[in-house]
Symmetry: C2
Subunit: 148 residues, 2 copies
DNA sequence: TCCAGTAATCAAAATCATTATTATATAATA
DNA sequence: TATTATATAATAATGATTTTGATTACTGGA
């Protein structure tokens, strides 16, 4: 954990920003809740536990900054709020999501399923892919009708 | 064009809604601008040319209704506004998009590239897929650096 | 150490997309 | 025609996000 914070600190410095206590607290929340897809509000409430004097605007600015530095991904599942996801280190690509229409859970797929598809798109449409976003909507394993 | 309007009219009636002049004007805008990905505001401004007395809320309600009937798809590219796309008739699946990070153009891919991927996801994650959304971000053919 | 200049912060107000409300109009039905 | 349900326009309200203005913290010289 400390190592990752250290690395983000270096990234910030490289872009001539500083790792302030507020930014560090925000980052720690993101690291602790790595598996979740937190909204800005969620992050704010969690950061407040560590640093009660922080403001919502600061959290927004920090998340935006981290997005810019590609430390986090800003995702939008169409539910009206932006969510923030820590990028796996070294991951070039956005991972994929399974959104359950029953319970609303969002699961992740880490593997890159799109290798072949990308090749087709690149050549057929002469489109130079930087990133992709793939979301499946359906019913997750937890909500599958039980057969008994 | 008239045929498609007629068909939507039937769909509306089947769900006990009516094709009011405002709804028809909205639908006509969508048909005329089929290739675009219009925001609610865009649609509103265009409909206003035909039917100046229409209100923004009515456009929103109409778009919502058409989404419900699966006449249009409501898409979110993460730019803060929802966009509305007429569904190709008979299309079961959402089509895919190529979003250019240079010029902002949004192109469409009609073919379903995800058949194999879906099979993997369904079996491996025990996830019953209803729909999918795939967006590639990159540089479109128009913005490719010319080699001269 | 003191100071100037910049960066970062908080709190509050502003903005933007969207939704809810309300009163009115229009159409469908008895 | 009287009654009821639907749809509408205009406006207000909402909720997420951004901007603003005043304040504070940090940095590198005199």
């Amino acid at each position: 954990m400390e190592k990752r914070i250290q690395r983000v600190k270096e990234q910030l410095h490289a872009a001539s920003y500083k790792l302030t206590p507020q930014r560090e607290a925000t980052l720690r929340v993101l690291l602790e809740r790595e598996e979740d897809h937190l909204s800005a509000e969620d992050v704010y409430l969690l950061v407040k536990e560590k640093a009660p004097e922080i403001g919502l605007a600061t959290v927004y600015r920090t998340l935006e900054l981290l997005t810019e530095l590609k430390v986090v991904d800003k995702i939008n599942f169409g539910d009206g709020v932006s969510r923030y996801d820590l990028r796996k280190e070294g991951a070039k690509h956005f991972h994929h999501h399974l959104v359950c229409i029953e319970c609303g859970a969002v699961d992740e797929i880490q593997e890159d399923l799109l290798g072949d598809v990308e090749t087709v798109v690149e050549s057929q449409y002469n489109f130079s892919i930087q990133d992709h976003r793939l979301t499946f909507h359906g019913i997750c394993y937890r909500c599958q009708p039980k057969k008994d």
